[in-house]
C-alpha cells in the first residue's frame, strides 16, 4: 500500500505493526513535497534534515515501547502562526521574516509528546487575515484540485498540504472560518473546537477572543484523534477551559438515530451557489435516512455577523499587532530618523495591505468617540448572536449548513474586492462569535471539479455530536480524501 494513502491513524497503526516506519513515512512525504511543492507552495519553511532526524528518534521510541499513541510517528504540518522553538515562525509576514521563537506553542508540545513529527510550517494569509492565502508575503498557495484556484484561507497552506498528501494532517487556526473554509475548498476535514478547548499559548494572536487552534485532516477519525491530543487545560492561557469530556474518539459511531438537526433557512438565501445548496441539503438527506430528524428553522441575525466580526476582530488585532514595532524582534526599517519615524516606517514596510487595513479599522472603532458606537455595539450584537444559537440548541443537537457561499475562487479574483472577500465568511464567523465548535466535512464536488464542504455546528462542549454526525455521514458516503496534484 502506498504510504501516502494512509490516514494519520492508519499510518500510526501501520508503524506500530511494523509494516512501515516513521522514517519511511517522513521520507515519502518529503519526496511528495519535492514533487508537488513547486506548483502548490503549501509550505513557507521545511526543515528536511531535522524532520528525518526527529522521525528516526520517534521510530526508536516506538520500537522501545516508549511511544504507543495513536499519532506516534505521523509527519505533520503546522500553520506558520504557531510558535515553534528554534524554527522560523513568520505568520507569512515580512514583519517576522526572520523570527525564531524561544518556545513552542502548547498545542505543538502536546502533539510532539504524542509522537507526531513536524515537517515544516505552512503558508497562510498574513497574520491570518484573509480568506484565500493570497495576502501571504511569501506568495500564494494553490489549490491541489485545480492550481488556478485558491486553497482558501487563512489556513490555506495547511489545507493544501493535507489535500496534496504533503503531510498526514496539519494544524490551523480559526478566527472567522480560517480552518473550516480552506478545509471545504480543499476537500479535507477541518474543525474549530469550542473556544478554550485548545490552549492559545504560542499562537500569534489575531483576534484573541475568537482565535482557536484546530486540525485539518484526511477524515473524521483523524480529526477526532488529533483533537483528543490537542485538547488540554493550560494554566498559561487564562481562557483555557478544564474539560473532562475530551475522549472524542468515543463518539466515532455511525449512528444518528434520533439526532435533531436544524437547517438554518437564512443560510440558504441569495448569494449561495446552487450547487453547494444541493450538496449540503443532500448531506442532510443522508443523515435523515440514517435516522436523524431534520428540520428547517430561522437562526436570525445572520446579516449582522460580518460587521460584528470585523469590528471585534479588527479591534483586537489592532492592539495585538502593536508589539511588532521593530524594537525587540522582527523587521526594522533600515533607515530612520528618531523613534517615531522608525515605528512608522517599520510598520508601513513590514505589514501588507490587508493587515494595515484591519489595524486601521480596529484603531478606528476603538478610538475616543467611536468606541460606544462601534466596539461596544458589536459586543452587544455578539451577545445577541450567542442567544440566537442558545435558542436553536434548545431544539437541535446540531445545525447543518454550508461552509462558504462558493467553492474555491480563482486566484486573484478576491483581493480586488475586499468587501466581497469579507462576505464569503458569512456562514463561519458567527460560530467564532459564539465560541461554538464547528466542523467542515467534504460533501461533494461542483461542476468544475472543486470540492464542496458541509458545516456542522454544535453547542459549546458538544464536539462529540459533531463527530458522531460527521462520522456517520462519512461512513455512509465516503468522499475521496486527497488528490493527486495537477501536473
Amino acid at each position: 500500500m502506498d504510504i501516502l494513502s494512509y490516514t494519520a491513524v492508519g499510518l500510526a497503526k501501520a508503524i506500530r505493526e511494523g509494516k512501515t516506519t516513521a522514517t519511511e513515512a517522513m521520507q515519502a512525504v518529503l519526496d511528495k513535497i519535492e514533487e508537488v511543492e513547486e506548483s502548490i507552495h503549501a509550505y513557507v519553511t521545511i526543515d528536511k534534515e531535522k524532520a528525518i532526524k526527529k522521525a528516526e528518534e520517534v521510530q526508536k521510541k516506538i520500537e522501545s515501547g516508549e511511544l504507543t499513541g495513536a499519532l506516534a510517528g505521523v509527519p505533520i504540518a503546522i500553520k506558520d502562526n504557531l510558535c515553534t522553538e528554534d524554527m522560523l515562525t513568520t505568520c507569512s509576514s515580512k514583519m517576522l521574516e526572520n523570527f525564531v521563537p524561544t518556545f513552542s506553542a502548547e498545542a505543538i508540545r502536546n502533539l510532539e509528546k504524542a509522537g507526531a513529527v513536524i515537517i515544516g510550517k505552512t503558508n497562510m494569509d498574513e497574520f491570518a487575515m484573509g480568506s484565500t492565502t493570497e495576502t501571504s508575503y511569501f506568495g500564494v498557495t494553490r489549490n491541489p484540485w485545480n492550481t488556478e484556484h485558491v486553497p482558501g484561507g487563512s489556513s490555506g497552506g495547511s489545507a493544501a498540504a493535507v489535500a496534496a498528501s504533503e503531510c498526514f494532517f496539519a494544524l490551523g487556526s480559526d478566527t472567522g472560518g480560517s480552518i473550516r473554509q480552506p478545509a471545504a475548498y480543499c476537500g479535507v476535514v477541518g474543525m474549530k473546537p469550542t473556544y478554550g478547548t485548545v490552549s492559545r499559548y504560542g499562537l500569534v494572536a489575531y483576534g484573541s477572543s475568537l482565535d482557536q487552534i484546530g486540525p485539518l485532516t484526511k477524515d473524521v477519525t483523524d480529526c477526532a484523534t488529533v483533537m483528543e491530543v490537542l485538547a488540554s487545560h493550560d494554566e498559561k492561557d487564562s481562557t483555557s477551559i478544564k474539560r473532562e469530556d475530551t475522549d472524542f474518539t468515543s463518539a466515532l459511531v455511525a449512528d444518528v438515530k434520533g439526532m435533531r438537526i436544524g437547517i438554518p433557512s437564512d443560510y440558504f438565501r441569495e448569494g449561495l451557489n446552487p450547487e453547494i445548496k444541493d450538496a449540503v441539503l443532500a448531506t442532510a438527506k443522508v443523515l435523515e435516512e440514517k435516522g436523524a430528524i431534520v428540520e428547517e428553522f430561522n437562526l436570525s441575525l445572520v446579516e449582522y455577523a460580518i460587521p460584528t466580526y470585523y469590528t471585534i476582530a479588527s479591534a483586537e488585532a489592532s492592539s495585538n499587532l502593536e508589539r511588532f514595532d521593530g524594537i525587540k524582534y522582527g523587521y526594522r526599517t533600515p533607515e530612520y530618523e528618531g523613534l517615531h519615524n522608525m515605528y512608522k516606517k517599520t510598520r508601513s514596510e513590514g505589514f501588507g495591505e490587508e493587515v494595515k487595513r484591519r489595524i486601521m479599522l480596529g484603531a478606528f472603532v476603538l478610538s475616543a468617540g467611536y468606541y460606544d458606537a462601534y466596539y461596544l455595539k458589536a459586543l452587544r450584537v455578539k451577545s445577541m448572536i450567542c442567544k440566537a444559537f442558545d435558542k436553536a440548541f434548545e431544539k437541535y443537537d446540531i445545525i447543518l449548513g454550508p461552509v462558504a457561499p462558493t467553492t474555491a475562487p480563482k486566484l486573484g479574483a478576491s483581493l480586488a474586492d475586499p468587501m466581497k472577500m469579507y462576505l464569503a465568511d458569512i456562514y463561519t464567523i458567527s460560530v467564532n462569535l459564539a465560541g461554538l465548535p464547528g466542523i467542515s466535512v467534504p460533501c461533494g464536488m461542483d461542476s468544475k471539479g472543486l470540492p464542496i464542504g458541509v458545516q456542522m455546528i454544535a453547542n459549546s462542549f458538544e464536539e462529540k455530536k459533531l463527530f458522531r454526525a460527521a462520522y456517520t455521514y462519512e461512513k455512509t458516503k465516503r468522499m475521496s480524501k486527497s488528490v493527486k496534484c495537477a501536473e
Partner: protein, 476 residues
C-alpha cells in the same frame, strides 16, 4: 493688590506591590539584577505569549481598598491601554479603566489646620513598564525589561487637598496603611511609591475649579512640597498677569526647583482602551473579601491605644514606635521574649533612632531580629556586659544582625568579675599612679574616681565597676 487664592490638589499615587512574582508571569519582582534577567516571553511581549493574573495582586489591592474604606468591585476586568513606547513591550499596558477594583473610599488625615477626610475616587491594578537607558557614548537606547510586569496599584484621590501639608499627611497616611498591610515598602526614592500631583488654583470662594496641571517626577516629600509651592505660585502669577493656565503634564526638576512642560492636553494620546480579551473577568466573592478583611492587621490607631494600656512607656515613644510597622513589630516581638517593654523602647528610641539617622535609613530597613535585641538586653541585665560594651555590640548588631551572645563570647567582651584578675590590675594601677593614691590618702575622695577610670581603661571597659570600687578601697 493680590487676590486670595486657594490651592486645589488631587493625587495619583502609584504603589509597587510586594509580590514575589510579577503580575502576569512567574518572573521575580526583585529590584536590581542584571538587565533582562528577570524576564520571560510574557513580560517581554513575545508573540504567542499570554498573561495569567497573579492572585496575590488582587488580594493586596482588595486589602488596600478595605483599609481606605473603598467599595470593592466584585466583578472587575482588565483593559488594555494602547500606546507606543519601547519600555512597553507589547505597546499596550494592561490596566483597569472601566471597572477598577476599588471605588469611593476615603482616608482621614490630621494637620495643624485640623482633621479632614480625603476621598479616594478609585484604586486600580496595572503592570509597570521596563526601563529605558540612553547610552550617550554609543548614542543608542537600551531597554531593561526587569521591571516590566511588576504589579502596581494606582490610588486616585478626589481634589480634596488644599495645601502641601495635607498632601504630605495624606501620603504618609497611605504609606503607613500600605506598609502595615505589608503590601509595599512604599519607598519614594526607590520608586516603589510615586505620586503625581494634580493642582489648580482658584479665588477663595469660587465655585468652579481652575484649570489643573499634572506634575510628575516627584521622588521625595521634599520635592512634593517644593513643587506644590512653585506650581501654585506659577499659576497665580499667570492669572494675575491676565493669562490662562494651560492643562498639561509638567516635569519637576528638583535641582533647579522648577518644572517644565512635558506634554499639553492637545498632544494627549487616544489610548483606545478596551477590555483585554486574554484575561477573564475577576469575580470577587463576599467570602474572599471577608477573608481579607479578617486578616487585616491592627493599624496604628488601634496599636497606640493598646500600647498605652499594655505597656508602661511614654506616649511620645509609642508615637515613634508605631510610626513604622516594622518598628512596632520589633518592639512587640522583643518585648514578648524579654518582658521588658521599657528597656526595648529605650533601645529603639535611643541607639536605633540615632543609627538610623546617622546612616539615613528608614525604620523599614532595620535588619536586627527581636531575638537578638532580647538577648542583648538579657546580657546587660545579667551584668554579663557593661553598658559601654552593650552599645558597641549593638552597633555591630544593627549592621549585621549578629547574635550578641556568641559575639560577646568570641570577642571576649564579658565583664570581668573575677577578683584575682581585678586585684592584679588594680595593684598595677596603684603602682602607676602614686600621685592619685597620695591625693586619696590626703582626703581627696575624688581621686578614687580617676583610679576606677584607669582600671576600667586597662580592662577595656569590661570590669564590674562595683567590684573595682570595692577592691580599690580595700587596697588603698
Amino acid at each position: 493688590m493680590h487676590k486670595q487664592y486657594e490651592t486645589v490638589i488631587g493625587l495619583e499615587v502609584h504603589v509597587e506591590l510586594a509580590t514575589k512574582t510579577k503580575i502576569f508571569c512567574g518572573c521575580s519582582t526583585e529590584f536590581g539584577g542584571a538587565p533582562n534577567t528577570h524576564t520571560c516571553p510574557v513580560c517581554t511581549g513575545m508573540p504567542g505569549s499570554l498573561p495569567v493574573l497573579n492572585r496575590k495582586v488582587v488580594e493586596y489591592a482588595i486589602a488596600v481598598g478595605l483599609a481606605t474604606n473603598c467599595n470593592i468591585t466584585q466583578y472587575c476586568k482588565f483593559d488594555r491601554k494602547n500606546y507606543f513606547y519601547p519600555d512597553n513591550p507589547q505597546n499596550y499596558q494592561i490596566s483597569q479603566l472601566y471597572l477598577p477594583i476599588c471605588r469611593n473610599g476615603h482616608v482621614d488625615i490630621e494637620t495643624e489646620s485640623g482633621k479632614k477626610s480625603v476621598r479616594i475616587h478609585e484604586i486600580h491594578m496595572e503592570e509597570d513598564a521596563g526601563k529605558m537607558i540612553h547610552d550617550e557614548w554609543e548614542d543608542c537606547s537600551l531597554v531593561d525589561y526587569n521591571r516590566s510586569g511588576v504589579p502596581l496599584i494606582e490610588i486616585v484621590s478626589e481634589p480634596d487637598m488644599r495645601s502641601a501639608e495635607e498632601v504630605i499627611a495624606y501620603l504618609e497616611k497611605l504609606r503607613m496603611l500600605i506598609q502595615y498591610l505589608g503590601a509595599s515598602d512604599c519607598k519614594l526614592n526607590e520608586g516603589s511609591m510615586r505620586a503625581d500631583v494634580n493642582l489648580s488654583v482658584r479665588e477663595v470662594g469660587a465655585k468652579e475649579y481652575g484649570t489643573r496641571t499634572e506634575m510628575k517626577n516627584l521622588n521625595s516629600f521634599r520635592s512634593i512640597t517644593h513643587a506644590i509651592k512653585a506650581e501654585r505660585e506659577r499659576q497665580i502669577e499667570l492669572l494675575e498677569a491676565g493669562q490662562t493656565v494651560v492643562q498639561e503634564t509638567r516635569r519637576w526638576d528638583e535641582n533647579r526647583e522648577e518644572s517644565y512642560t512635558m506634554r499639553s492636553k492637545e498632544d494627549a494620546q487616544d489610548y483606545r482602551y478596551f477590555p483585554d480579551p486574554d484575561l477573564v473577568p475577576i469575580y470577587i466573592s463576599d467570602e474572599w473579601i471577608e477573608e481579607i478583611r479578617k486578616s487585616q492587621p491592627e493599624f496604628r490607631e488601634a496599636k497606640m491605644v493598646r500600647y498605652k494600656e499594655e505597656f508602661d512607656i511614654p506616649e511620645y515613644d509609642i508615637g515613634i514606635i508605631t510610626d513604622s510597622k516594622h518598628m512596632a513589630d520589633l518592639f512587640e516581638e522583643t518585648t514578648a521574649i524579654c518582658k521588658q517593654p521599657k528597656k526595648v523602647s529605650n533601645w529603639l528610641m535611643g541607639e536605633t533612632l540615632r543609627l538610623l539617622k546617622e546612616k539615613s535609613m528608614d525604620a523599614e530597613d532595620i535588619v536586627f531580629s527581636p531575638e537578638h535585641l532580647a538577648k542583648l538586653i538579657g546580657l546587660v541585665d545579667a551584668k554579663a556586659i557593661t553598658g559601654t560594651v552593650a552599645k558597641e555590640v549593638f552597633e555591630i548588631m544593627f549592621e549585621k544582625d549578629i547574635d550578641p551572645e556568641s559575639y560577646v563570647e568570641e570577642k571576649g567582651l564579658k565583664t570581668v568579675n573575677d577578683e584575682g584578675t581585678l586585684r592584679k590590675t588594680i595593684e598595677e594601677v596603684i603602682v602607676d599612679n602614686p600621685k592619685s593614691v597620695e591625693d586619696y590618702h590626703n582626703g581627696k575622695e575624688k581621686a578614687i574616681g580617676f583610679l576606677v577610670g584607669q582600671t576600667m581603661k586597662a580592662m577595656k571597659g569590661q570590669a564590674d565597676v562595683g567590684l573595682v570600687n570595692q577592691i580599690l578601697k580595700e587596697l588603698l
